[in-house]
């Protein structure tokens, strides 16, 4: 049966994405976890941008207003034995000690 697939990894069609939106999963963070877009093997390389554009269309807003969902490391899947082969890197704080840094704004 013919389908317009939005996210290949999780088999989410564009119609299903719209249905989840109408079900009340109105923002990207919830849509991502409810439908699965962006959480499969490609980690969103194939669908996050497309999904955010579709959400902007559904909501009738400028795509720039859809907050960017977190893209978490790594960029490609890494086997645990590869990772275990690495020397233990220093803590991020130690790495940053030499670099100037502004704290991101955070509050309750």
């Amino acid at each position: 049966m013919s389908k317009r697939i939005l996210c290949r990894c999780e088999d989410v069609t564009i119609e299903e994405f719209g249905k989840a939106y109408r079900d009340g999963f109105a923002e990207m963070e919830a849509l991502k976890r409810f439908t699965g877009v962006g959480t499969g093997f490609c980690q969103g390389k194939g669908c996050l941008c497309e999904s955010a554009l579709e959400l902007a269309r559904l909501r009738g807003v400028d795509p720039a207003q859809i907050p960017l969902t977190n893209i978490r490391p790594p960029i490609e899947p890494l086997t645990f034995e590869e990772l275990a082969s690495l020397d233990l890197p220093p803590l991020m704080g130690e790495l940053e000690a030499a670099l100037p840094r502004t704290d991101p704004e955070v509050g309750p």
Binding site: M1, S2, K3, R4, I5, L6, R8, C9, E10, D11, T13, I14, E16, F17, K19, A20, D23, F34, T35, G40, F41, C42, Q43, K45, G46, C49, E50, A52, L53, A56, P63, A64, I66, L68, I71, R72, P73, P74, I75, E76, P77, L78, T79, E81, E82, L83, A84, S85, L86, D87, P89, M92, L95, E96, L99, P100, R101, T102, D103, P104
Partner: protein, 462 residues
């Protein structure tokens, strides 16, 4: 294949293939295009991006699940088999679900059988075997295999440039201090360099009338030579950035394993990904983007002789794909998007080389047979007519989607801009040049910053 040197076992059946090919390409040459089935609807999938980003080619290779067949070179005796994603209760069940999508609405597993508790528990037990893609690795694969080589520390650099295309090479040449230039291609010049070289060597000199592509080729060769001669630049060929960690750390992978590099300044010029559009059944095996074609028809050298290939789209990549396919012996059908504006020389080249030319089309649907592509159906802007073009491969040459993951992870401020193809630097003018909140000097350049190949060519011509 004239002199096959390597035999692999595909689901127990020996297949002869060329050394150096990827498993996906070897299977393609033997007519195996369906490499996996999607988890929910059991849809056939194949090597689609050929760059290790999609899941179309995840297979069980040498007893290890979820291995990317497009990124795994063949070796003697390699065992490869399709996996049974989702099919805990058989593929017929999946097909039934696919036909009755409305009975299995998205997120159904969140909503069904929430009570009573016993039914909810039973439901968990029923759906659990359906989840997951591969089965655990064979014991021999994890117990006996030697551990990977110890990682290497490449140390600290003044500049690391990610991406060896036109933008990356320019950045490396302009950089000050010790500079590391990383690219996943084996040669300088990025992914289009090899495609251009192969196209130029084709019968009838396909690039002869394609002036912009000839200029691009000359430019890539020239920059490549300058980079090779630049004493401050060290190359890391055949190397992929597999992770970016703040404030300034890059995790790299090449044939020898992982390595770590740090830098005072990072230039993110990682290019763009193919964007196939959202027409019906665009996930059928046989539908590719230009970057996938460069890989499969280039380094992987799949057999294209006599195959009908539709190249749809607009812009320089469309013409490069057509020229490459011509050089590889395919029968080229050029289907131009209504916005395409090829010059007279390009059209003359198409006529001279016998490419079928169709204009004013947008893809509507892919039509399949036996699980892979048989034809592409178009919208020609007229009511009622839906022209089709029979083909084994369709190359969709739309706007590239900027690669942003690494730049984002390093701390760049990005914004979604469809006019620039996806997530691009927020700053006006497209470039991002400045310090991240963690204090790294970061530059985003080239296609990763939302530029297109056409933009680059204009810049060069000017």
């Amino acid at each position: 294949m004239a002199d096959p040197a390597v035999t692999i076992l595909f689901e127990g059946q020996p297949l002869a293939c060329r050394p150096g090919q990827s498993v996906a390409a070897a299977l393609w040459d033997h007519g195996v295009k369906v490499l996996s089935h999607s988890p929910k609807y059991g849809r056939p999938r194949g090597a689609s991006c050929a760059r290790g980003h999609c899941m179309g080619c995840l297979m069980r290779i040498d007893g290890v699940p979820n291995v990317r067949a497009c990124h795994t070179p063949v070796h003697e005796g390699l065992r490869v088999a399709r996996q049974d994603a989702g099919a805990a209760y058989g593929r017929p069940m999946q097909s039934a679900l696919s036909g009755t999508g409305h009975l299995l609405p998205v997120g159904f597993y969140y909503k069904w059988f929430t009570k009573p508790a016993a039914l909810s528990k039973l439901f968990m037990r029923i759906i659990r075997p359906v989840t997951g893609i591969g089965r655990l690795p064979d014991e021999a694969a994890w117990r006996a295999a030697p551990p990977p080589p110890r990682s290497r520390d490449l140390g600290r650099w003044d500049t690391v440039v990610v991406g060896g295309g036109a933008a990356g090479m320019a950045a490396a040449l302009a950089a000050e201090g010790r500079t590391l230039l990383i690219d996943d291609a084996a040669h300088g010049g990025g992914q289009r360099r090899e495609a251009l070289d192969l196209a130029a060597a084709g019968d009838g000199d396909p690039l002869a009338g394609l002036h912009r592509l000839r200029r691009l080729r000359a430019l890539l060769h020239e920059r490549d030579a300058l980079v090779a001669a630049a004493p401050h630049v060290t190359r890391a060929p055949s190397t992929t950035v597999v992770g970016c960690y703040q404030p300034d750390m890059l995790l790299l992978r090449d044939a020898a394993g992982l390595s770590v590099a740090r830098a005072d300044r990072i230039v993110w010029a990682a290019g763009a990904l193919d964007q196939l559009g959202l027409f019906d059944d665009h996930d059928l095996p046989g539908i590719l983007g230009p970057r996938a074609l460069y890989r499969l028809a280039g380094r992987d050298g799949i057999d294209l002789r006599g195959r009908a290939v539709v190249v749809w789209g607009h812009g320089p990549d469309q013409w490069l794909c057509a020229a490459l396919l011509h050089a590889r012996g395919a029968r080229v059908v050029l289907a131009l998007d209504p916005t395409a504006a090829p010059d007279e020389n390009a059209l003359a080249t198409a006529r001279r080389l016998g490419w079928q030319l169709r204009t004013g089309l947008r893809p509507l649907a892919a039509l399949g047979r036996a699980g892979s592509l048989a034809a592409l159906r178009f919208d020609d802007g007229r009511n009622g007519t839906r022209p089709e073009s029979a083909c084994e491969i369709a190359v969709i040459c739309g706007r590239g989607k900027p690669v942003y993951d690494g730049a984002y992870q390093l701390g760049a401020d990005l914004v979604l801009d469809p006019l620039r193809g996806g997530y691009v630097p927020r700053a006006a003018g497209g470039r991002w040049d400045g310090r991240t909140p963690a204090g790294l000097n970061l530059t985003i350049a080239g296609e990763a910053a939302g530029a297109t190949l056409a933009d680059l060519l204009e810049e060069v011509t000017a």
